[in-house]
């Protein structure tokens, strides 16, 4: 099932998204409690706290957690960012196409595959709040590089996005939480449209159902398959499923075979792989 995980650094950034998407608390584990995870209809949102390290920790923990239950996942960072006054207007929504960590000069490039109405810009991630406007045409924030580094360790660069609403001109003025929420709220339509778009273009991974996994385990135990053979069998079963072809009869046939030594195991396993691969090309 295709899912989306949204990470914000502040609760006031999350509030308009939670409201718009109708997300509800899901505090069934300490992890979910820690990052205030809310969800609805395969959409999840967690709050990381401020800074690239906190963003990285929340992103990696929640992404790994959700990948256990969802075969396809997009991971989106939503928040506010500063900008040079000549670059963007306050309140403008930006889809980030390049993220640079200022401390390390490491760069990340989220793939942008979908049509959208937002502006596209690069962003620099700093370790401290920025109180003077940037010299070159970029946004500035304190989370994006941590988010990108964590997210792209677990999912593809085409499965991540960074969405920022311009909140200030790096002039040291602090916004009240309700002002931050209002900025996000004003762009909520465009934000949800992009999240939906990201999910819709995501090719579905073909995972095995619980029943199919259970049957595979039975086959593995019956045929005493090695670790390598198990991996290969699962790969072939997933491929068969992606091709829309049945594979249960092949597993049933393997279960019905008498296997008492390594040679019999090898022959039975090879026969099963051949049956799973198809005898000829269409």
């Amino acid at each position: 099932m295709k899912a989306a995980l949204i990470i914000t650094s502040l609760m006031c950034e999350a509030t308009p998204v939670v409201r718009a998407l109708g997300l509800k608390p899901t505090r069934s584990s300490e992890l979910e409690e820690r990052f205030q995870l809310v969800h609805s209809n395969n959409l999840y949102l967690g709050v990381s706290g401020v800074g690239k390290l906190r963003s990285a920790v929340a992103t990696s923990a929640l992404t790994a957690h959700l990948l256990g239950n969802h075969s396809s996942l997009v991971v989106v960072n939503i928040g506010i960012a500063g900008a040079h006054p000549l670059l963007a207007e306050k309140g403008q929504l930006v889809l980030v196409n390049k993220v640079r960590d200022v401390a390390t000069n490491i760069r990340f490039y989220p793939d942008i595959l979908i049509k959208h109405q937002a502006h596209e810009l690069a962003i620099d991630t700093h370790d401290h709040p920025v109180t003077t406007p940037p010299h070159h045409p970029v946004l500035v924030d304190m989370e994006s590089s941590g988010f990108m580094q964590a997210a792209t360790t677990l999912v593809a660069p085409s499965e991540v996005a960074v969405l920022k609403v311009v909140s200030d001109y790096c002039d040291g003025v602090r916004l009240a939480p309700e002002e931050v929420s209002a900025l996000i709220e004003a762009q909520i339509g465009a934000i949800t449209q992009i999240v939906d778009g990201l999910r819709s273009t995501l090719p579905e991974h073909q995972g095995l159902t619980t029943e199919e996994q259970s049957m595979m385990r039975d086959v593995s135990a019956h045929a005493k398959l090695s670790v390598t053979q198990n991996i290969e069998l699962e790969r072939r079963l997933r491929a068969r499923k992606a091709q829309g072809e049945p594979f249960i009869p092949v597993l049933q046939e393997l279960l019905a075979k008498q296997i008492s030594n390594k040679d019999e195991r090898r022959v039975a396993f090879d026969d099963a792989l051949r049956a799973l691969s198809g005898a000829s090309l269409p």
Binding site: Y109, L113, L202, Q243
Partner: protein, 336 residues
Amino acid sequence: MITLPHFSHIYIEDAARSYPLTQALLARFKRAVPIAIQNYKEVFNRPRQRWDHQSQSLKLILAVKQDSFLYPGSSFVPNFDHSRFFYTTPVLNCIYACEYCYLQGLLSSPNIVVFVNGEDFISAARQEFANDQPGYLCISYDTDLLALDDLFGFCAPWVNFARTIPRLNLEIRTKSANIQALRNITPSPNVILAWTLSPDRIVRRFEHRTPSLRARLDAVAEAQRLGWTIRLCFDPILRVQDWERLYEELLEQTFAVVDPNKVLDVSLGVFRINSGYLREMQNRRPSSKLVMYPYTVERGSASYNSNERAEMLGLVANSMRRFVSAEKVCVVPWQS
């Protein structure tokens, strides 16, 4: 919400920005978003890229190749009796999406990298082939230069270069029907246009986004008429259902349009691939029956088993004799 068109974003190495080809491409794709990069590998070689996802909207990456302009020819492809066999890669990747293409196993992403310093490639080739020894250079292996010629215009400079070195044979391999690109270039006898031909059912089923067999054959015939040296590549031969009849018909269709006497040579090869690349392709494209087929793997090469290979090559080579003399037929070895 739908995906962006191809080349909606152009990644540009800082070093590539001033090249005329970069400027021309930016002018051509006015609506594309330019993104500055330091080295093409930081985008092209990112880990965990999804080929199937990125294929929905290909991006263009403009780079400057710094070294390694020529590579020794692979033993998976025929050298046509040339001991000095090289290939070069002015472009990485292809606009076509053939299911069997080794690029899906070799490269990290389907995005297209263009090295805008084309003249440096030609300088390297000029240096390599400066002596009097004959040589063989393929310039369209990891891409299809003729298909992309309207964008990059690489064919004419290479043909003009080859004209100055008559002992060099230069091959441009293609599935394109872009005959218009050839009309503006004077043929050189040592430049070989090598067309890959497949039965139309295979074209439609496995060679996605490529021109039909009919369009390719018309292009071959027109290239012959324009005076180009032609090679026909029936490679890879695929063991699909009814393959015997399909390839028989393919030869009939081909030589009904193409003059066999004016063909330089013909290459025949069954599908074969480095087994490591195949493994990668299987991970990336599990839904492809062609990729997941139970090939035989021996010493790092995957292909059909020896009986199947012999049967396939034997039948097609035998049928070929009705049209082309045996000495013009080159059978490609399946293993390195």
